[in-house]
């Protein structure tokens, strides 16, 4: 049986079919107007390659793991649902006041625009009634207000309603009553309640997260229904799983209950792949980059773990759910180059898959990064994707000539070199954000490279940053999909548990965890995970009395006793000292939130073996081509290798171009590449 990873990107939708010691990768153009279409196209492509039809293919697959960008795109492009918000009277503007804080980095920039409101002010409807911090009711819910609000939202024809009342997680009765009224009055309208989405303290964070959840929910629901409907129509009897922003996978029910976890989930497969590949080469410190058609994602893994963020701004919207930290830059193969009053810029505008770069000859006339790579001789001048994508090199030249070269009095080649330089600089800035700016020297890291476009830029980026080792898997073009097939299941269950640590009743806390763990484990069991493959972690968010930010301590799920609690307290002091240089053992500590992380382990598929052997790479050399390098001050004769014929464990010296089925690796002068038996190129200087 096979495992199929499907990862939707802005330009391509990627497929990884893994199992039985083999791994195959496929790409098909994304279909932004109807993303499910690309999934269908890809399944047909894979089936065709295996000489069967889609039902035949699906019969041999037990798990489909999917990374979808529909939720992310809805948030980026502001094409999500029309959402109404029911909130506590007097607090209808917390979404717009945003705690009164302007994002750091723009302190003296008087022209930095405000973030677009996901719920405009006229759809934020206040309702009377108030719960206080101890859960007591200060004023009963004003049901007349709720019915008026319903009327207003009905008239406005909203697609979804978010409900977030002050202190609702301490006393959910008002939110629950609103739930009943909405179920009667607005059946069929999607709803998101703050007590379900994020039952923890901080009204602004909880409201914002609930609104984002509501904003992407209808889009995600429609999409999941379409994809799974199609799979079922074709007789699929296995499981469908989705990658989440926390870096783990879940079922469709799990995702649809918490659609916010689908946001930014696309790039979450990258770090998993980077960690997996880095470990094979003995490196726990890796920077993982993934350059697709539209965007460039970068994450940093140190000592084998990738940073988790909570209560942070994602695409300018506050999110309270735990998510892997992945930065995204608008730089990709489809990024459009343009000349703006004498200044050459590349991206963030992207030609995407449709019309795509000029060289695809699908109606695109604007020059893109890919067109520059064609002109510079890096990419094959006739076809890509093993012949499935024809390339019109002249179209690339015309686009660069017309939009960049002519007005800047540059020749086409120099203009193409300029496009490459600028797009590389943008990506270097992105890598700096996760490394240098966080105090990590990139020279201490290996770089794992993904994306169809990434390997052509990899050694150039590494040169800029002083990185000495680059890892490019043959499956590079589908790195996230690859990460998806090696990811574990993961479910976070959050709760509020405010109590001084010294006052905690061990049995009560144990019982609270038992509830959360029963949910997480129940979900894993429903997803078909064996008891033996389940592991549990308990996260405790604590702080010294009168601090307001919690500091996390993670512990295995062992029984809570008084002794265990005093160890927890000591562990907190230690963690505090590690982070902030001091501890206050004499000060009281409050537990604020708890979180259960349920992980279901998945065996990575076996994918080594079957590669050619030989003494050198000469037999794989298929052509020479003029290619441009800054180091050689212009175009030089450059050998071109057929990646499928390159033997393992031989060196390919740069300058060289290695053409794989779904990507092209450019080995800059001064670098050499060596393929290992699991299909990963190690490039060193």
């Amino acid at each position: 049986m096979y495992r199929l990873g499907i990862d939707s990107g802005g330009t391509f939708t990627d497929f990884v079919l893994a199992g039985d010691g083999d791994v195959s990768v496929y790409k098909t153009p994304s279909t932004p107007d109807d993303p499910a279409q690309a999934v269908k196209d890809g399944l047909a492509l894979v089936a065709d390659d295996l000489d069967t039809d889609v039902p035949g293919l699906l019969a041999d697959i037990d798990i489909v793991i999917h990374g979808t960008t529909v939720a992310t795109n809805a948030l980026i492009e502001h094409t999500g649902a029309k959402v109404g918000l029911l909130c506590t009277e007097g607090h209808e503007d917390s979404l717009e006041i945003r705690l009164g804080h302007k994002e750091d980095g723009h302190r003296y920039d008087m022209t930095y625009p405000m973030a677009e409101m996901l719920v405009p002010r006229h759809l934020r409807v206040p309702v009377g009634g108030r719960v206080l911090s101890d859960g007591s009711e200060h004023a009963p819910l004003d049901e007349a207000d709720v019915y008026d609000a319903v009327e207003r939202l009905r008239e406005a024809d909203v697609d979804a309603v978010a409900v977030s009342l002050v202190w609702s997680f301490e006393n959910p009765s008002h939110e629950e009553r609103v739930r009943e009224i909405l179920a009667e009055e607005l059946p069929g309208v999607h709803t998101s309640f703050s007590v379900d989405v994020l039952p923890q303290v901080r009204e602004y964070t909880r409201t914002s997260t609930t609104v984002v959840n509501a904003y992407v929910k209808p889009t995600l629901d429609r999409y999941v229904e379409r994809v799974e409907g199609y799979l079922q129509e074709n007789g699929f009897e296995g499981q469908t799983r989705y990658i989440q922003a926390n870096g783990g996978i879940t079922s469709s029910e799990g995702l649809r209950e918490r659609p916010a976890y689908a946001i930014n989930s696309g790039p979450a497969g990258g770090p998993a792949a980077g960690r997996h590949l880095g470990a094979k080469f003995g490196s726990e410190d890796v920077i993982t980059v993934d350059m697709g058609g539209t965007s460039f994602d970068v994450s940093l893994t140190k000592d084998g773990s990738t940073e988790i963020r909570k209560d942070f701004d994602l695409m300018r919207y506050r999110m309270g759910l735990p998510m892997l930290q992945v930065e995204t830059i608008g730089a990709g193969g489809g990024s459009v180059a343009s000349l703006d009053r004498g200044v050459l810029t590349v991206g963030p505008e992207s030609a995407g898959a449709d019309p795509g770069p000029a060289c695809y000859d699908r109606g695109g006339t604007k020059p893109t990064t890919t067109d520059a790579l064609v002109v510079l001789g890096y990419l094959n001048q006739e076809e890509l994707l093993g012949g499935r994508m024809k390339i019109d090199a002249d179209a690339s030249r015309r686009a660069i000539e017309g939009h960049v070269a002519a007005d800047s009095q540059l020749d086409v080649e120099s203009a193409a070199a300029g496009i490459l330089e600028i797009v590389n600089k943008n990506m270097v800035d992105g890598i700096r954000q996760v490394s240098i700016e966080k105090g990590h020297d990139p020279r201490d890291f290996a770089m794992v490279v993904g994306g169809g476009a990434g390997p052509a830029h990899a050694t150039g980026l590494a040169d800029e940053l002083g990185i000495g080792r680059v890892l490019v898997p043959k499956t590079s073009s589908v790195l996230c999909a690859y990460g998806e097939v090696v990811s574990n299941y993961k479910h976070n269950r959050l709760a509020s548990y405010p109590s001084p640590v010294e006052a905690i009743d061990p049995a009560d806390l144990e019982a609270r965890f038992a509830e959360l763990e029963a949910e997480g484990v129940g979900q894993l069991r429903a997803e078909g995970i064996d008891e033996a493959d389940i592991s549990l972690q308990r996260v405790f968010e604590m702080r010294y009395r009168n601090q307001i930010k919690e500091c996390e301590v993670t512990r295995p799920a062992t029984e809570i006793t008084d002794e265990w609690l005093s160890e927890l307290r000591e562990a907190f002091d230690e963690r505090h000292e590690e982070l902030y240089t001091y501890a206050e053992p004499e000060t009281g500590v409050d537990l604020i939130n708890v979180e259960s992380v349920a992980i279901g382990r998945v065996d990575p598929p076996d994918i080594s073996g079957g590669l050619p052997t030989g003494d050198d790479a000469e037999t794989a050399r298929v052509a020479t081509r003029e290619a441009y390098f800054e180091e050689t001050d212009g175009f030089v004769e450059t050998p071109v290798y057929d990646g499928s014929a390159i033997p393992v464990d031989v060196d390919v010296e740069g300058p060289a171009v290695v053409e794989e089925d779904t990507t092209t690796i450019v080995v800059n002068p001064g670098w050499s590449a060596r393929l290992d038996d699991s299909g990963v190129y190690e490039l060193t200087r």
């Binding site: 607090h91 503007d93 009164g100 804080h101 003296y108 008087m110 009204e203 602004y204 105090g439 307001i548």
Partner: protein, 596 residues
């Protein structure tokens, strides 16, 4: 001098930014007072051995200008008497502090036994002793009546805290426990900075690191010089009124004369004799106010360091005046009033110099603090309520002002705090924290809205301590913007009794609010840019739809008639706008700082 490659230079710059940011994170995550952990009223910076600021970060703008002279004052005070493990502490404006509430910690950083750098953390404490909780005493006629003055002292010596000195400090303040925790937080912050600097020197060597620092200072200086070069040479003047917020001496004026000569600028301030009221500003704070005026117009890209300010010289006026106060002038309100007036005087002068880059002013500070005894815990509490001063931002040429990102002295660096966190920390119910319609200055580009903050004490009597101004004078507009509805542009405080009767306050006072009663603070919006009758009709209609501008506001200020159903009455709008052609803004009241 060692050869510096561009990657090392970027890593050094990035490490400075990280060190600064992590110091800030340490304060935010570990401090106890809500002024610090909720409101982010702190600033952290790194300095070289001579006291040159190497990185300024994104913290409170008004703090940062004064940190430069303050650090130099501390270095001078302890010259020859600095050992490893020492930590200095200080708040005295007479030693270049800003105001006594801003308490500052300084740690010398040694590498191989040599003093090379200083890490500095300034934080606004919740209380500094004196007769009024939170330190804002409108009755003080001398600094001695405001609270504890701390000239530079050693608080840690050779790595050990000096308990005698710490006890002296703690014995003088309310909320002793929070204070103690805040000292630890600051200590954590300066240690974090030290750790990063030592790591950097370990990695690249002191000589290389210092060469990078010099290069970075020079780069910032040349960036500022390039900007100043674009301003036509000449002397420009801006005069801005400062209202009588309770001293009874009437309105006063502050003037800034800005002379630009090539790539340098000099600024002279002029103001009346210092007054027996807490709105006097000592030198370091006034200099900082001047820098803000430049920063808001020139909008240089980060990173920022002391190099930026090398081409700007500042004369804060005759000693003994409001902008160059001397002991014993009371001063606690100075970081907002009159610093915001000083910034506006410079901004107004520069508006004349480079109208194409002009921006409107931001809402000035107009807020409250609270104090009382927590009925459950039986302990006193006091805090500044930064949420109450989150006013509207000013408009720029092509953009409306942000709502709720003020005040002017902070440019969005503060945080109002989450309602649930505030109610968790204090025995209060926050009934309202929302945007204030019609508060944004009327212009082609509209100012952002200010906010309304409404509180009720739970089971105890609470003091509400007013401070700031902007209750009689509107936020200065720019380039011909003017207000017709003045009232919603001004701050005020309301005290609502249990019977619903409302009393209004426009001068600083201390109110006592009983359970069942409420206090409401209204603060101003930001200034507008350009003639309001040229604002696109559809933009006005959209503001009405969102409740940012009322129907009356649309009609009176913008000449746009919006019907109840939201549609625009075009004929009426045309008539209204035609009738506004030669209307003089004077008829609708003075427009401070606004040109026509």
């Amino acid at each position: 001098m060692p050869e510096i490659d561009p990657i090392t230079l970027s890593v050094v710059q990035g490490s400075l930014e990280t060190a600064q940011r992590e110091m800030t994170t340490t304060m935010m995550h570990t401090a106890r007072s809500s002024v610090l952990n909720i409101a982010r009223d702190y600033s952290n910076a790194l300095f070289d051995a001579e006291g040159q600021m190497l990185i300024q970060g994104q913290d409170i703008p008004i703090h940062l200008g004064s940190l430069m002279p303050a650090t130099k004052a501390v270095i001078e005070r302890f010259e020859g008497d600095v050992a490893e493990g020492d930590v200095m502490y200080h708040n005295d404006p007479a030693h270049s502090g800003s105001h006594i509430l801003d308490c500052c910690m300084y740690k010398p950083v040694f590498v191989d036994g040599e003093l090379r750098y200083w890490t500095v953390s300034k934080g606004h404490v919740t209380d500094i002793g004196g007769p009024v909780p939170s330190g804002y005493n409108p009755e003080a006629t001398e600094i001695y009546a405001e609270g504890l003055r701390i000239p530079p002292v050693k608080l840690w010596e050779g790595g050990e805290v000096r308990e005698d000195v710490r006890d002296l400090l703690l014995a003088n303040v309310r909320s002793e426990e929070d204070w103690k925790g805040d000292l630890n937080a600051q200590y954590g912050a300066v240690n974090i900075g030290e750790r990063h600097l030592q790591r950097l020197v370990d990695r690249y060597g002191g000589e290389t690191v210092d060469a990078c620092f010099d290069r970075l200072l020079d780069r910032a200086e040349s960036a500022m010089r390039e900007e100043l070069e674009t301003i036509p040479d000449g002397t420009y003047e801006g005069t801005v009124p400062l209202e009588d917020s309770g001293h009874g001496l009437g309105e006063i004026e502050i003037t800034a004369r800005v002379t630009v000569d090539g790539d340098e600028a000099s600024v002279e301030l002029e103001s009346p004799e210092q007054v027996p009221y807490y709105i006097n500003s000592y030198e370091a704070n006034s200099v900082s106010g001047v820098y803000l005026g430049f920063m808001m117009l020139l909008q240089l890209d980060p990173p920022y360091n002391e190099g930026l300010y090398r081409p700007i010289s500042v004369d804060v006026g005759e000693p003994g005046t409001v902008t160059n106060a001397e002991t014993p002038a009371p001063h606690v309100n100075c970081t907002t009033t009159p610093s915001e007036t000083i910034t506006d005087a410079v901004r107004t002068a520069l508006e004349e110099a480079v109208p194409e880059r002009a921006v409107a002013s931001w809402g000035h500070t107009s807020g409250v603090n609270i104090a009382g005894e927590n009925p459950e815990r039986g302990t006193p509490y006091t805090t500044m309520v930064l949420a109450s001063i989150i006013s509207g931002a000013g408009a720029a040429h092509d953009m409306d002002g942000w709502h709720s990102r003020g005040p002017l002295c902070c440019f969005g660096a503060l945080s109002s705090g989450d309602v649930e966190i505030m109610e968790h920390m204090y025995p209060i119910v926050l009934h309202r924290y929302s945007l204030r319609p019609d508060s944004g200055g009327a212009g082609r580009q509209r100012g952002g809205c200010g906010t309304i903050w409404e509180v009720e004490p739970r089971d105890h009597e609470m003091q509400v301590i007013m401070w700031g101004e902007a209750r009689k004078t509107e936020t200065p507009n720019a380039l011909g913007a003017y207000n017709t509805l003045r009232e919603p542009k001004l701050g005020r405080v309301e005290h609502e009794g249990e019977d619903g009767e409302v009393e209004e306050y426009r001068e600083n006072a201390i109110l006592t609010v009983a359970p069942g009663e409420r206090a409401r603070n209204y603060n101003p919006g930001g200034g507008g840019v350009g003639d309001p009758t040229t604002r696109p009709v559809e933009a006005v209609a959209e503001d009405v739809k969102q409740g940012i501008v009322t129907h009356e506001g649309a009609r009176e200020e913008y000449g746009v008639a919006v019907r109840e159903d939201g549609s625009v009455d075009e004929a009426e709008t045309e008539r209204l706008r035609a009738g506004r052609g030669n209307e003089s803004p004077e008829e609708s009241g003075p427009v401070p700082g606004g040109e026509r």
